[in-house]
Symmetry: C2
Subunit: 464 residues, 2 copies
């Protein structure tokens, strides 16, 4: 095999202990999604390029095309790797609509690929964890509060630190802009969305250049500055003196979400009227989630309400969805902040091998422990006990099991022939287990002994 190995920029891989931390996140996300009644789907990695490429003006640049290197693909559709999980979900919904039960609540935890320039928090291959609720033709608005609570439940179980879900409603901006006489709502939204990048002055210039009057600009900026953790944003907006039915609808709707969030998950949500989301297909609530310690890192969980995820001519499927950027989040937590697991293997016990002839006996011990759910490894070699203990220590395995001699086993030996010095503890006739952190060694029964719960599986933590 070729021996030269080179990392590929934008394609992140973890070492085993880091991977355990990643698995902990993925497992927790899945567990909470299922607790909230979302069903899993997994879609193929590829979609026809024409389905991927009509998703927005800039999408083409990001698509990875896929084709057989030595194949004659002329008769086959041109394929590309999906760049998110929404496009494949829309296609899956249409393809299987006759066999799905609506409202359909699905979660999907998969990788996606984008050919964009890799940078901090942005990868070419990344994992997302999406939940969406779609219905046929109509979708109740209470789901827009519910998704936020699912995310709050996820993050309450993970070491992400302080965070806030920033919520807005497109109707507020739309109604407000219309109420002050601005006709190009989408264009204005796109400019206001640049506030983080170009600041008030930059946005002012862009809005003026787009034909807004100075009072309109001032109103737009005043709206975008409103950000409250409770429903007082309603009064602040009304104090701006703009009257519009769509605006009122959006305000009532956002108030209901913030109130619901504050009852069920206090301190998580803020009404933040500058949140726009770049994508055109959102029509109501939009979410972005910022880590308090790293606001500039960008949103780690975003989504919103859309009126038409897909349409098959007969039915239109409105929905609401939110997506945890797992790779982005872990790029920070694991990649930068050092989150990792307490050991690099699932094993909590290493069963020592007294002598190669007694390996079957060590395997019997391991089988007895595994049968009770205890991840166990048998020592690779009947080396000196000190070496076997060192083998466990290097991997962070906390317990070493010394099989005793068995009267009825022809392979039984009454003293380990290779043990020396302080390793000679294991010369009794029954099984013994040593906690190699403390050095404590006790007699143990392979059919009943269990490690403390805290040791059973690796735990994850930041470096001290």
């Amino acid at each position: 095999m070729a021996s030269k190995v080179t990392p590929i920029s934008g394609f992140q891989e973890w070492l085993p202990a880091q991977r355990i931390a990643e698995q902990h996140f993925l497992d927790t996300i899945r567990e909470v999604f299922e607790l909230h009644g979302f069903a899993s789907i997994n879609t193929r990695a590829v979609e026809p390029v024409d389905r991927l490429s009509n998703q927005g003006e800039d999408a083409d640049k990001e698509i990875y095309g896929v084709s057989r290197l030595a194949g004659d693909d002329s008769s086959e559709a041109s394929l590309g790797l999906h760049f998110d999980l929404t496009v494949p979900f829309a296609r899956y919904t249409l393809e299987h609509s006759g066999k799905l039960t609506f409202p359909f609540r699905r979660y999907q935890i998969q990788q996606a690929w984008r050919g964009e320039r890799p940078q901090r928090g942005r990868y070419r291959e990344f994992t997302q964890a999406d939940i969406d609720i779609v219905d046929a033709n109509e979708l109740p608005s209470h789901y827009e509060a519910e998704l936020l609570l699912v995310i709050a439940d996820v993050f309450s179980r993970l070491p992400v630190g302080d965070y806030r879900i920033h919520v807005n409603n497109r109707k507020i901006c739309q109604g407000f802009y219309q109420g002050i006489g601005i006709e190009d709502v989408i264009g204005t939204l796109r400019i206001v969305d640049k506030l983080d990048k170009v600041g008030d002055d930059g946005v002012t210039k862009l809005l003026l250049a787009a034909g807004c009057t100075r009072p309109q600009v001032d109103q737009c900026l005043a709206l975008a500055q409103i950000c409250t953790a409770d429903s007082t944003f309603v009064d602040q907006v009304q104090a701006l003196g703009v009257h519009n039915d769509t605006l009122e609808e959006g305000l009532a709707h956002l108030k209901s979400i913030i109130d619901t969030a504050n009852e069920h998950a206090p301190g998580v949500a803020v009404a933040d009227l500058r949140i726009a989301r770049g994508l055109d297909y959102y029509t109501g609530t939009v979410y972005e989630t910022m880590l308090e310690r790293e606001p500039s890192y960008g949103s780690i969980c975003s989504g919103g309400r859309y009126d038409a995820l897909a349409s098959d001519g007969k039915r239109t499927y409105p929905g609401v969805g939110i997506s945890i950027g797992v790779s982005r989040l872990l790029g920070l937590l694991i990649g930068e902040e050092g989150l990792s697991a307490s050991r690099e293997t699932p094993s909590v016990v290493l069963v020592a091998v007294n002598h190669e002839d007694s390996r079957p006996e060590s395997m019997r011990v391991a089988a007895a422990l595994r049968a009770r759910g205890i991840p166990t490894l048998v020592s690779p070699k009947a080396a000196k006990f000190g070496k076997q203990i060192q083998f466990a220590d290097r991997r962070g395995i906390p317990y070493v099991w010394f099989p005793g001699s068995e009267a009825d086993s022809p392979a039984a030996i009454h003293a380990p022939s290779t043990g020396t010095g302080d390793e000679l503890d294991a010369t009794g006739t029954g099984d013994q287990v040593k906690d190699i952190r403390s050095g404590d060694q006790v007699s143990a029964d392979r059919d009943t002994w269990t490690p403390p719960t805290a040791d059973l599986h690796p735990t994850i933590a930041f470096p001290e």
Copy 2:
């Protein structure tokens, strides 16, 4: 969005209930791999094409190339999707060898892609579950028996039906062929490997054409016919009267594996001297796994021992690995035999909504149940109770929870305004839960009630 949807041949997707069955398999495989001390890694989907394409004469035809549709990739390496998990694992081992602890036991459950013609049990996108143990420079042979036991442990927990792991050792064939004067061992192996396809007569013709004498052909066929569930294959081989050191070494080795397997997992392994495996890199033990009811379906779990997974010039990494063809296995069990889940959602309880104003109370019930690990859904609408029960029934959700009226809740109502007829059970002042299969309805406390363990999560079964 485009409304035309077309399945893509060779890219399999499951409906939600089928996906739950798939998840059960993936979870069980992972759990057992971890019980046996394997650590997870996940590698990127792409490798440089030159690394993929030097893996055998026919590999090129199968590779999917990946490139940015609108990018200028001239400065970037040519990439392809991995077609198995062994090539990326070899690259990962070399890339991170300084940070891994050897012997390194890894499992990897991921998708792979091959552009070959889709057919029964063969997909263009498929999931594999691999375990490998690699070491630097040397690898003890006892791992070759161990991997077989891990697979036996996996399949003992899954509804796969009767199966056998067929084991051979390349050294037996090599030594035997050399012992009867055949020099082209690999060429002969390749011909004998065609026994299933072309039969004894076909193999005879091919061997004669390759220059074997009639007595050599007869000996090769006699060897290939030996298949025993215990170590009597040794006597049968020796009765053929061939003497060769490599042959003896292979026999002793295979005997040890079969004896170990029969002690720890009786009835699982057979010594089958016709098993060759197509791949050149196996140097010792090889495995193939057949379902007894569908031997023609092909191997669902294969692998073997290799002397050089990878080499970095200083160190060579020998290993032994085995791979469960999850997609192939489930293509049969789910796709053909109808294995599926008892419901299409993880939810075991639907909390009814008495009135839209009392949705917060229903959400409180759901939160209380979820906090104790009970997957719960809140009804989408405050429809008539009969409709809400029907909503649960359609999804296979066994329990419907009726929140009672709460004196301290302004939203409390004392009789559901929309209930009629037999749905009027829920008019008490406390919470009630109905098993909609039996119709039994009882008072229940949201902080203590739990469903029977058998109902908590969906179960999987074949149709009756």
